[in-house]
């Protein structure tokens, strides 16, 4: 692959690609790789991974995508949310491999989701559109702390340093931003 920003020009719907990958289609996988891998690498780098490790881990994530594709259920989550959860969990696993053995830890939400009631879920793409609307309505400074809270390794202190704000201000701004986002998402239901 060229490594250019081919992701932006991908023509096919990622959910459709995942369905084809589930039946063993390597061409669809290559297309999905071009769409997802550079975003996953960017996500890992933002979270403090060095570029070489991020590259390796992004490839591991794509192998998980290949293996888990048959479990993808578009009525539960959009393709991008599903990919995000896989990337997040693989990152946590890799951090823990470097650490001690885990006896109990993060409940992998793709398992946990099994216990959700259908009514609890804002399904798939529709939910994504609502999330986009909800976040777009927030003031710019609140959007910024939300974005940083997902993409910084030590979110609170990193945000405080980056935005030159006291830690207490960061915490209260995050609380306000997520509370607003939550209530807007609830309004849509």
């Amino acid at each position: 692959m060229s490594g250019d920003d081919a992701a932006g020009s991908a023509k096919r719907d990622p959910a459709e690609l995942i369905r084809q990958v589930a039946s063993g289609d390597r061409v669809a996988f290559a297309e999905l790789f071009v769409l997802l891998a550079p975003r996953i690498k960017a996500y890992l780098v933002r979270l403090g991974s060095d570029p070489a490790s991020a590259e390796d881990l992004a490839q591991d994530v794509m192998i998980s995508v290949w293996r888990k594709a048959p479990q993808f259920d578009p009525s539960r989550a959009s393709a991008m949310t599903w990919a995000f959860v896989i990337a997040r969990n693989r990152r946590i696993d890799s951090l823990r491999r470097e650490d001690s053995a885990v006896t109990y830890g993060h409940v992998p939400p793709d398992v946990e989701a099994e216990t959700l009631l259908a009514d609890d879920i804002v399904a798939g793409l529709q939910g994504d559109a609502r999330m986009r609307e909800a976040i777009d309505e927030l003031p710019a400074d609140q959007q910024e702390v939300i974005r940083r809270s997902f993409f910084e390794d030590e979110p609170h202190s990193a945000i405080a340093v980056a935005l030159n704000l006291p830690l207490g201000t960061v915490k209260s701004r995050l609380r306000i931003a997520f509370t607003k986002l939550r209530s807007r998402m609830k309004d849509f239901q």
């Binding site: 290559a30 991020a54 490839q59 006896t103 830890g105 409940v107 609890d120």
Partner: protein
């Protein structure tokens, strides 16, 4: 040990993690060890599971918007070549969930009616994750913690400065505070805690108990 939450007998929890805490769990940036307590709450709380699912949706939105970083020219070919590799077993985790955690707990009796058990997690060195079981009538030590403390009530009820937390409830303390939670009612109270830094008991009994329990 019976676990009423897993049996689904617990009423809907009334005290929940804050939105920013739910979001940090969804983002995968929660301090390791604290996520154990959070997972225990999620096992008991459908409402918070749904909120975490929404914040995961936010994660999906954010990686859609992120500026991509190109991989090397050979990355796709290398990945395609590895697709048929046997999968590495994932790190062992919550097959038995809370039940496994409870049955594996090495209990240390620290006072009549009181036991504590450290929980093994890859947490920061000075952080502590532990179970504490206190019989009715027994008091816990007054203590100060240097940073955040998460508590999930598993059985019985807890009275912290006049607020009653029952099985299924989550108690989130954000910063340094001295407090003296007590058992509420006539049943023993079992809680799962995560604390940032070691607890500092502020009385003699506490110092002895905490030293025995190594919490």
């Amino acid at each position: 040990m019976t676990n009423p939450q897993i049996a689904g007998e617990t009423p809907t929890p009334r005290h929940h993690p804050s939105p920013e805490t739910l979001a940090s769990f969804a983002a995968g940036t929660m301090r390791s060890g604290f996520d154990v307590v959070m997972s225990a709450h999620l096992q008991a709380c459908a409402e918070c599971r749904a909120e975490v699912a929404q914040f995961e949706q936010l994660g999906g939105h954010l990686i859609t918007e992120i500026d991509p970083v190109a991989l090397s020219e050979s990355a796709l070919a290398a990945t395609l070549a590895r697709l048929e590799e046997p999968s590495r077993p994932p790190p062992p985790r919550t097959a038995g969930g809370l039940d496994q955690l409870l049955s594996g707990a090495r209990r240390r009796w620290v006072a009549p009616g009181v036991w504590a058990a450290r929980v093994d997690t890859p947490s920061h060195h000075d952080d502590r994750v532990f179970l504490l079981r206190v019989a009715p009538g027994a008091t816990t030590a007054r203590h100060t913690h240097a940073g955040a403390e998460f508590t999930q009530v598993l059985e019985g009820a807890l009275d912290d400065d006049g607020v009653i937390y029952r099985a299924g409830d989550f108690v989130e303390l954000g910063e340094e505070r001295t407090h003296h939670p007590k058992v509420h009612g006539s049943d023993a109270c079992l809680c799962l805690f995560a604390t940032e830094g070691r607890l500092v008991p502020t009385d003699l009994i506490g110092r002895i108990a905490f030293a025995i329990a190594n919490v």
